[in-house]
Amino acid sequence: MAFNHKHLIDITEYSADDIMTILETATRFKEVNERRIKQVPTLKGVTIVNMFNEPSTRTRSSFEIAEKRLSANSLNFGGSSTSTVKGESLVDTVETLCSYKVDMIIVRDKHAGVPRKIADVSGVHVIDAGDGKHQHPTQALLDLYSIWERKGKLDGLKVGVVGDIGHSRVCGSLIPALKIMGCEVTVIAPPTLMPARPDVLGADHVTSNLDEALPELDVVYMLRIQRERLEGAPYPSLREYNLLYGLTQKRERLMKPDALICHPGPINRGVELDSYMADHAQRSIILDQVYAGILTRMAALYLLLGGSEDGFAA
């Protein structure tokens, strides 16, 4: 299988074969993560910049661990806390990083389109670790991996995505990725949290009624609700959101016996999920997703930086 990508920015540029290559490569990295010494020399001498221009703990930690386990040299570069605050432009910041002779930039930014801009300016490998409300492709890959590992397939699965579809970079990558892999996607949200054209992302069904949608679903993907502001909020209260869109114990009777629950984290317990569902031993694969983040990010780093099929196990 030829994997021929320089960047991981737009998941729609990846074919089903490309994505399967990443998932299968991720499987092979499990062994490394179960050793006593969890490190291989695969990316020794490679310099990776983690450019996180907005606060992120989980994604950045996950990338850092993936980089360290592959022996890459990594530099954490907090754009918003350093140069941009001093008035430096994005382009100047990236050109400065390039003068360090780095090999890859992993970028999180609150503005859409920044990873592509960095790729154009820098010429080095770029991974989008989340850009504004646009995309978050490694999140989609780890989601696919977790579902695929548990279900044994992706093709034909019915997946429902519930919550703030309209402002979610997770959805910007996840929904197209699910479609690439042959899933049937239902988006479920109040109209105030729906994008203008969910069909553009690839959604097959659009509804505001969770109870009607649930019985069909093989996977229920719950999104995090932003709870910062209530003034001008797209829902009247967290209580009402939970009543209408929360995946709670009383809704379990509507679910298929083998339906899975996903969440990109961090969870707002009592809002989109109650503890019964979040911790459900058979259904919840939320912690599997976290582990899959390490595996798929190792796989993506490895494949993008030109690793050969067998080179990593040394």
């Binding site: 432009s89 503005h111 859409a112 920044v114 504004g132 995309q135 970079r169 203008a196």
Partner: protein, 430 residues
Amino acid sequence: MALLLKNAHCIDPQAGLDEVCEILIRDGKIVEVGHNLTMEKGVERDLGGKIVLPGLVDMHVHLREPGFEQKEDIASGTRAAAKGGFTAVCAMPNTLPVIDNAVGVEYVKARAAAVGKCRVHVAGACTQGLKGETLAEMGDMFNHGAVAFTDDGRGVQGAGMMRRVMDYASQFGVTVMAHCQDDDLVGEGQVNEGVASTRLGMLGWPAEGEELEIARDIALCRLTGCPLHIQHVTTARGLDMVRAAKAEGLSVTCEVTPHHLFLTEEAIGDDYNTSLKVNPPLRTAADAEALVAGVMDGTVDAIVTDHAPHTDWEKDREFELAPFGMIGLETSLSLVYTNLVATGKIGWDRVVELMSVRPNQILNVDTVSIAPGSTADLTVFDPSVEWEVTREALTSKSGNSGFLGARLTGRATDVYVGGYATLEDGVICE
């Protein structure tokens, strides 16, 4: 001194003129139009193969002076206008300070007289500081030469305030020009709401954010009787409302830009080209088609550029942080020719209406005509030139054109303002 223009195809529907003939100019006025004209002493120009039109006017430009001279100034902006074939522009008041009093109007007029390469009409602000709270001194500005009033850039948000603006302005017989944008609905919208906002992952700027205010301002035109000009209409429904208002007999006019006619939201790709970030945003193909139909059927009164220069460093950044606007003075006429005239959608007579006669009428300034007695403001166009829009080819200080790389047909070669050449053989006259 006299000037004799020979062998050009002269077109002016006002004079019923559409033939190869000669134009004799003396003391800034056209004195004779005809064949085998003679003069005792003067300069002859052979314009064989070219087209001569009444001087073109761009009634919506941002010259950025005073305050934003890094983007453009009156000298560079009017040079760009001359390069693009314009004999006059109307400068918007959203400078720093805002042109909201007579001092500002006089400043722009004085600078234009000193360094300008075309006539500069001045639009004053409707409200002080464009804040939408207090009426600007429209009477004083009018007496000092302001030709129209507008809070372009954002629009007057309150319906009560807009009513006050139009009521007050109506005593001067001037047009109030409206940038239609409901801030509360548009919010932080970046691109057209729908396919583009979803695909690009950015907040949407819905068509209704514009249409609501078009509807409101047409209602206020009915209420106050003040002539209303809707700036940069971008949607099919917005244009339909203007069409209906005209049919009702209201004093409502409107303009469209080349970028809304010839570009759509689909042009904004993965590279998030910030030159395509404009306000109002690029809309759908169906909207653009409706605008072209409006140009053809007469609903659209004027084609304007909304020339909005920004420095390279302001535009070369995150899409959501870049300012709105693209430049247009140097591509407008060629785009109109390439996309509308050469394709047979409109004739030159309609171009003259859209880019000369109607803008002058809306601004209440003298119209120009290729006829004896008229001011000798003329645009000479060579339809045989093929050229590519490049940064290097632009005279403007800024390069934020959404048409870089486009191959266009036809270009202005000569421009006369009051009988004096500002552009000759494609070169600005110093």
